[in-house]
């Protein structure tokens, strides 16, 4: 294919292999971040992380030279903070930033070949997923059912169930925003892996200073130890531990954790604080959802803790010999006490 991605695409999607090639061709050494003209890039990278830590998307987009370097500087800063919550949150928000650009590009791009190239570079190259344009309508995308199910089954909204989708000949038909949303977690994981595998040697001082500043400013408010308890069953302890690492828990695990905490008498404020380390934490939404589970709003029904068999089917069960034959996580506590 003679068509190539342009530099503006590198600016929007700096994680692409093509963008990395561009960086390699420019022979940039880490030392160069010590140069005064790099101050703008480093400040920009730090402020990008800061905005993300406040739960907002960093929307500003500059030319590709600036964006690719900012992306790299931000990765270094985040890695050097050595705070898992910052790392996870940055990855998620970087994925969401790319998602917003990609939706626009897929919606607005009229050149079918360019659109297919974007799909190929992002979905096929990065995630090994084939995404095609509907032969009858190039505004609609389609994905193999098995690829779709492997991703969509982690979403809990009814709209993602295949019974509510157009399905034909093994393909699920999707809009641009839907197809992009499906790979958000993978994109976040890809950026996470990039950070984790970055070598840490000859770190420029200005980068280190920004990292120390951000690590101090966004030191985790809540610690796993604060919530850990010998009386909690292993499924709950496992979820708490993941939370403490800033992991993005699936909806089902959050439901389990919240209903469990409510059942053992914890109040809404306590549980909201517990979720504060989630990369996508939004206090208003979290509070609303917990109040709903507690039966304070909506149908006024208090949600029960899911049974062990339900948790097992959702891969949330981490049964140990201490669990014995219990059928509900709450029984572990009763057994212990």
């Amino acid at each position: 294919m003679s068509l190539k991605l342009g530099t503006v695409d590198f600016a929007k999607y700096p994680f692409l292999n093509e963008a990395s090639k561009f960086l390699a061709e420019s022979h940039l050494e880490l030392d160069e971040f010590n140069r005064p003209e790099m101050e703008y890039i480093i400040d920009r990278a730090a402020s990008r992380v800061e905005v993300e830590m406040q739960g907002k998307l960093y929307k500003n987009l500059e030319k590709h030279e600036v964006e690719v370097l900012t992306f790299l500087a931000a990765l270094l800063i985040v890695k050097l903070t050595r705070v898992e919550q910052i790392l996870k949150k940055h990855c998620l928000f970087e994925a969401m930033r790319a998602e917003s650009f990609l939706i626009q590009d897929l919606r607005n791009e009229r050149d079918e070949k360019k659109k297919q190239l974007l799909l190929f570079e992002i979905f096929k190259e990065l995630f090994k997923v084939n995404v095609d344009l509907d032969p009858d309508n190039p505004q609609i995308f389609r994905m193999k059912l098995t690829d779709y199910l492997a991703r969509s089954s982690h979403f809990h909204e009814d709209g993602w169930k295949i019974v509510n989708r157009t399905l034909h000949d093994g393909y699920v038909y999707l809009d641009a925003d839907e197809i992009v949303r499906l790979v958000r977690n993978e994109l976040s994981n890809l950026i996470y892996d990039k950070i984790k595998t970055m070598p840490l040697s000859n770190i420029p001082q200005p980068i280190l200073e920004k990292a120390n500043y951000l690590a101090f400013k966004f030191k985790p408010i809540s610690e796993y130890k604060q919530y850990a308890n010998m009386d909690n069953p292993p499924c709950i302890e496992h979820a708490l531990e993941l939370m403490s690492k800033g992991e993005n828990l699936p909806h089902t695990a959050r439901l389990m954790l919240a209903t469990y905490m409510l059942s053992i008498g914890k109040n809404v404020d306590y549980i909201v604080a517990l979720f504060r380390t989630a990369p996508d934490f939004n206090e208003k939404i979290t509070r609303y959802q917990i109040e709903h589970l507690a039966g304070h709003t909506g149908g006024l029904t208090r949600y029960k803790v899911p049974s062990c068999s339900k948790l097992e089917s959702e891969d949330l069960c981490f049964r140990t010999s201490d669990c014995g034959e219990i059928s509900n996580p709450l029984k572990f506590r009763r057994k212990k006490t």
């Binding site: 509907d134 009814d158 019974v163 509510n164 989708r165 399905l167 034909h168």
Partner: protein, 386 residues
């Protein structure tokens, strides 16, 4: 099975052993046999699981040596199939669908349904509990599927195959259909791309086939304020799947938004329409057992082995239209035995013979006697052949 008396056990076990001598060629070799967990229910000591076999000869040897009442193999492939469940190392699983006559809600069911005391096996009436003989209140229900049951089962299987091929995109030759050996059919999908799907993904797939969780948005009906509706038809139109089925039902096209709004309002607004849609999808959805499809650690009756609930064989159906389960899968011997039949009258058909029993003490071919004994509807009068 444990409630059977010893002469019943001897009769059934001998008939089963003879089957495994004569028909071991029917016992299928599953792909990746050494990665599967096997298990069986023996005549004397309950369920044994976590077995593994390297080849079909070992399977044949076990069937002959132990002559199990039921013999199973996993749909899953494991690194270490004989280890305890948590240590097996799940690698993937066949996608399986189960359609059983009991889930079809057929009107004929009442005419061939028998209620027995789960403790002593006496025929009882569930409205008069506890059992007069032993004072136990647990009931066992057995059914003798009739021609109508299999006619409807075939229709359901064909509908399922149409959805699997046209909508789910599975090639026709990747689907194997089996008579379950009792009152249903199992469909196995041999398509590598489905092996890695977890329970949640399979649950979504089962939901699609059943029509569970369908929402008005599938045909573009959206909720507005105060139970009003707006219409935004799917961009793919009504060409495929559920949107096609629903568009046909409501007789709408992509230009019929006013007609659809009128329809929704006539039913009582968005919420009432959602409820109507849910009921309709449930009615036209394929009546698979979702638990079977969702379970990725289950052990299933192994193809070519006998079903302990009937003495019939679980057999592959190459041409389901002409497959008569009660003839083709009835492979036990014909030697005559005397049995006591519990219901006062009983009609059934096996191996091309119609049985119309009106006396309790009757002489039946072994295959028919075993069929009734396995269902708890008869017991031996004298052990062995007459």
């Amino acid at each position: 099975m444990n409630s059977l008396k010893s002469s019943d056990l001897i009769l059934v076990k001998n008939a089963f052993r003879e089957y495994y001598f004569k028909y071991n060629n029917l016992v299928e070799i599953p792909p990746r046999i050494n990665e599967r967990e096997f298990g069986f229910r023996s005549f004397h000591s309950g369920m044994i699981r976590h077995l593994s076999f390297e080849n079909i000869r070992q399977v044949h040897a076990t069937l002959l040596r132990d002559t199990p009442f039921d013999f199973y193999s996993s749909n899953a492939f494991y690194n270490s199939p004989a280890s305890p469940m948590q240590e097996k190392g799940w690698k993937g699983a066949d996608l399986i669908f189960d359609i059983d006559a009991k889930d079809l809600g057929l009107p004929c069911e009442a005419s061939h349904r028998y209620e027995m005391c789960a403790n002593c096996g006496e025929i009882i009436n569930s409205t008069v509990l506890p059992c007069q003989a032993c004072k136990n209140s647990a009931i066992r229900i057995e059914s003798i599927p009739c021609k109508n049951c299999f006619l409807n089962l075939r229709r359901e299987v064909n509908k399922l195959i149409a959805i699997l091929t046209d909508e789910i995109g599975i090639k026709d030759d990747s689907i194997s259909t089996y008579f379950s050996g009792n009152s249903g059919f199992h469909l196995y999908v041999n398509d590598f791309s489905f092996h890695s799907l977890d329970s949640r993904a399979r649950s979504d797939l089962a939901g699609y086939i059943l029509g569970n969780g369908i929402g008005p948005q599938v045909i573009g009906v959206r909720n507005g304020p105060n139970n009003t509706v707006s219409i935004m038809f799917p961009r793919t139109g009504f060409k495929y799947g559920w949107s096609k089925r629903l568009a046909k039902k409501f007789r709408i096209e992509q230009t019929s938004s006013l007609k659809l709004i009128r329809y929704v309002n006539k039913l009582g607004g968005f919420d009432a329409f959602s409820k109507y849609l849910t009921d309709y999808a449930k009615e036209v959805g394929i009546k698979i057992d979702p638990h079977v499809t969702i379970d990725i650690h289950r052990i299933f009756r192994h193809a070519g082995t006998l079903n302990g609930k009937s003495g019939l064989s679980k057999l592959r159906c190459v041409d389901i239209e002409h497959f008569e389960p009660l003839d083709a899968a009835c492979l036990l011997n014909d030697s005559v035995v005397q049995v006591y039949v519990k219901p006062s009258t009983l009609k059934f058909q096996l191996k091309g013979h119609k049985f119309n029993i009106s006396h309790n003490k009757v002489r039946l071919p072994t295959y028919a006697a075993v069929y009734l004994i396995c269902k708890g509807l008869a017991t031996t009068v004298f052990p062995g052949s007459c």
